[in-house]
């Protein structure tokens, strides 16, 4: 049973009363970027900034799964979004350069095509983030140590609505995207304001 307690970790440094300690991912190889990274330091955020709170909690949950339990992150979902955005920007750049080289009105057909394509890509992006990505922020594989069975795929998603508590869902399936026995376990809820868990 995965014990996720990002709330305590965020507020009191990196130790949990139960003796749960986080270590830096790659202490040796990060030496050239060590001055930049602040992964080891406690997270300081404004507790009234909803999105910062959600991001910190999500990050902590990610850290637990990836570093403590050594799951391997699957970037396909995120890469999909990055690719759609990159293609949209490319169309915008093409339109800009074409218009600069052949001033309007000669550039009208190319401009019209690029503008329409750009907004179509925006529509695709919206559909992708609303229906495919939803509120998932981590897809991770647990490699089978023997290398025989297919990987277990775990997925983390969360939501933090105004005036509601933070909800974290951990789902499991055999193959990414195909949830045959998905069990959504709603994590323990907690109260930020009085800094206590309600188990």
């Amino acid at each position: 049973m995965v014990q996720i307690c990002p709330h305590c970790k965020v507020l009191s440094g990196l130790t949990h009363p139960g003796g749960f300690r986080m270590e830096s991912k790659n202490p040796e190889s990060d030496s050239h970027t060590a001055w930049w990274k602040i992964d080891d330091k406690p997270v300081k955020i404004d507790k009234w900034d909803g999105s910062a709170v959600k991001n910190s909690l999500d990050d902590s949950a990610k850290k637990v799964l990836l570093e403590k339990y050594k799951y391997v992150e699957n970037f396909r979902l995120i890469d999909g979004r990055l690719i759609i955005c990159t293609i949209s920007c490319l169309f915008a750049i093409v339109a800009l350069i074409w218009d600069y080289l052949h001033p309007f009105p000669e550039s009208k057909p190319v401009l019209a095509f690029c503008v329409v394509t750009y907004f179509v890509m925006m529509g695709i992006l919206t559909i992708y983030t609303s229906y495919k990505e939803k509120s998932i922020f981590l897809v991770a594989h647990r490699k089978d140590p023997a290398g025989m069975d297919p990987d277990d795929v775990w997925q983390l998603s969360s939501s933090l609505k105004r005036y509601h508590e933070h909800r974290l869902w951990l789902s499991q399936g055999r193959k990414a995207g195909f949830w045959s026995n998905s069990t959504k376990m709603r994590e323990k809820e907690w109260c930020f304001l009085c800094r206590s868990h309600t188990h």
């Binding site: 995120i78 990055l82 990159t86 009105p105 401009l111 019209a112 690029c114 750009y118």
Partner: protein, 177 residues
């Protein structure tokens, strides 16, 4: 206050997404502008009135919406925005005289409502009439006062750069949820 706190905690993909986010905001604005150019047929569909030569119709700081459809005939009495050859700044004045040929070619003369004389003094040396190619568009609608922001930013460019820098920094440094 650690401005870079959020950034330092990000991995490469998240950093790339921050940059992409900024690029998408800029691209969206650019595409909306280009889209307006295509739809209206005018190279500058939104202009700001810079002088008081069209008072009391338009005042300095008003925003004008223009269209430039090829098939719309220009008639005397209409307000057009035109550019004199060799000058960058568009001028908003009223058409007072037109000579029209059967094939649709026109030569017209303009004058600001609040000016004493016609615009021949503003035209190029030796030019007495304007042609369709000089027209940027015809005024179709306007919003009062909104253009003052543009005038202020042109008069004080440092303010403009500071504002753009702050907005850019905000988008780049704040983490998208």
């Amino acid at each position: 206050m650690d401005l870079f706190g959020d950034l330092r905690r990000m991995n490469k993909r998240q950093l790339y997404y921050q940059v992409l986010n900024f690029a998408m905001i800029v691209s969206s604005a650019l595409m909306i502008w280009k889209g307006l150019i295509v739809i209206t047929g005018s190279e500058s569909p939104i202009v700001v009135v810079l002088s008081g030569s069209m008072e009391p119709a338009f005042h300095r700081g008003d925003l004008l919406f223009l269209t430039n459809f090829h098939d719309d005939p220009i008639r005397a009495g209409e307000i057009v925005v035109f550019k004199v050859e060799g000058r960058d700044i568009p001028i908003v004045h009223r058409v007072i005289k037109i000579h029209e040929k059967e094939n649709g070619n026109i030569k017209f003369l303009t004058k600001g409502d609040n000016n004493e004389v016609d615009d021949r003094g503003l035209y190029k040396e030796g030019q007495n009439w304007l042609e369709k190619k000089d027209v940027v568009g015809r005024a179709r609608g306007f919003l009062p006062y909104v253009g003052m922001v543009t005038i202020i930013m042109n008069d004080y460019p440092k303010f403009k750069y500071a504002l753009l820098a702050v907005m850019g920094a905000y988008v780049l440094l704040k983490r998208e949820s």
